[in-house]
Symmetry: C2
Subunit: 314 residues, 2 copies
């Protein structure tokens, strides 16, 4: 198994997670959660998205959230279009992630743009970013399958990757938006794109909708992908499958990689404390395994149940 | 990725799952569920365990359950000791699985035997099986970690594997009883044991306690292990972590492997119907992803939500 010594975790819960919770989370609660994540030594956090507050009221405090934490951690912010990018730059964002889907129907549902229109905006956003010293990343949504169109062709991914490269983008995240990827597909996709990526560094973002998220991350990591997006508590859900799991939980990935001797730089106990705090706030919207079971070698806790569970099998 | 054309799924829900549900499930309900699994074309099912009914009342109807379905499918039954094996043989079982843990404290908690005493019984059970034309398998519990003792040495696994081989056992299942395995550990363990297994064919049984179950199965499969134990609906739980996930859900594994072009012979829709039926019975004791999200390409269902989910991001 080809493994790195260290992987980079990008925490997306405050964006992907909070956006999928219908209720508005008070701004100070959002900021408090982000500070707990920073305290757990997470180095990159997608803290909010600059979107139309009428459409996504959950993110209407994007500017305030961003500005309250931007001096404490590397903050990523998501934007769907030119308007969002302008708002983000104006607020002082230094790393902006634009999102474009690999399929027309999903891009239209998600951003109300054709792919071609989004690519044109990407080019304009890139110019604005360059002249403001802002780094632009791209989230390539539905990269492993589309809930409307099913399988996605490598060709359509390559077209967007090529356009991103032409716009000067150097970091692109392959997003399994509705959890349709499997490890073999990840291997094929990464191998195919790897050869045409030029200067682009790939990351991955897997939803655990059908349980394959961790196997997909592992596959990507063994192929040399080192930027992994996950969400504390597994927040995130899937808008097309009510009740389904969200992003892979950050603590599950950190627990597994630490057990495998791979560094993340994250303080797992502090991260679990943050997840526990979220559990109190959101309860069943979480889909974290390690939060419930404890870390692999938490030992003593497990011993408490011995007597009552004795003679479990016979 | 080194993948087989086909994998063998061994369904353990009616044993590992039902045993972890505190309430007694009526015998006719158990039989009904097993018949649904047979109808989904599952070829091997661990249907019950022959244990002390005072200690495990959930399995007190082992004989009746077994005899109601044994002419319809390859039935496996679990036994913890000589007494259980005698009951199983007397009931007509043709495939018996004995269980021994790799660690003294877990073997004692689970079977009230030292490992040495269990190995001695294994030898006796093997003789009884041979003279009755019964195939004996071994479940090697806590093979990837013990909730009491932590890490498990390869040496202790090898000792039991060796003893199993000496007793004429030809099928041995490496069980991650409380979900402590990670893919690197699976690789190391399988590679180490593989070289000393003689005629023994290995299977694996991973609990998804910390979310790594599917990644672990994938790793084992790429190393050539072809017998995979899973549980419909992800039934099973972890006795040492209340509320934690159980076995990897059979439907999640079948959905993933089918997506990867690997055959299982199982009718996934019928399997999901069975899981749906279990959901009605046991609700939150299930931990299946595919049951909630639908199969990867179930397409039309996903389209229903389009309007309300439109402009999800911006």
């Amino acid at each position: 198994m080809n493994l790195p010594e260290e992987i980079n975790i990008i925490e997306v819960g405050p964006r992907d997670g909070f956006q999928n919770i219908k209720e508005f989370i008070a701004t100070d609660v959002k900021i408090d959660i982000i500070k707990r994540l920073i305290d757990a030594n997470i180095k990159k956090i997608e803290v909010t998205s600059f979107v139309n507050p009428k459409l996504i009221p959950q993110m209407s405090d994007a500017r305030e959230v961003f500005q309250s934490v931007c001096d404490k951690v590397k903050c990523l912010v998501l934007v769907p279009n030119l308007k969002g990018a302008e708002m983000a730059v104006e607020a002082g964002a230094k790393i902006i992630t634009m999102v474009i889907s690999s399929t027309e129907s999903h891009n239209m549902a998600n951003t109300n743009h054709t792919i071609s229109a989004s690519l044109k905006e990407m080019s304009e956003i890139s110019k604005i970013c360059q002249s403001n010293g802002v780094r632009l990343r791209l989230d390539l949504a539905t990269a492993f399958g589309c809930p409307f169109e099913g399988k996605v062709s490598i060709r359509s991914l390559k077209n967007i990757v090529y356009a991103a490269g032409q716009s000067g983008i150097r970091e692109l995240v392959l997003c399994d938006t509705t959890g349709m990827a499997n490890p073999l597909m990840v291997e094929k996709t990464v191998k195919e794109l790897g050869t045409e990526s030029g200067n682009i560094v790939f990351g991955v973002h897997f939803h655990n909708t059908r349980g394959t998220g961790i196997a997909n991350i592992l596959t990507a990591v063994t192929l040399g992908i080192n930027n992994i997006e996950t969400s504390v508590g597994g927040l995130g859900g899937c808008p097309f499958a009510p009740g389904a799991s969200g992003n892979v939980a950050t603590e599950d990935i950190v627990n597994m990689f630490h057990d495998m001797g791979i560094k993340t730089g994250i303080n797992l106990n502090k991260l679990l404390n943050c997840s526990r705090y979220l559990y109190g706030l959101f309860d069943n919207k979480l889909s974290s395994h390690t939060l419930i079971a404890g870390t692999t070698y938490s030992g003593q806790k497990c011993l408490e149940g011995v007597k009552s569970e004795r003679n479990q099998i016979g």
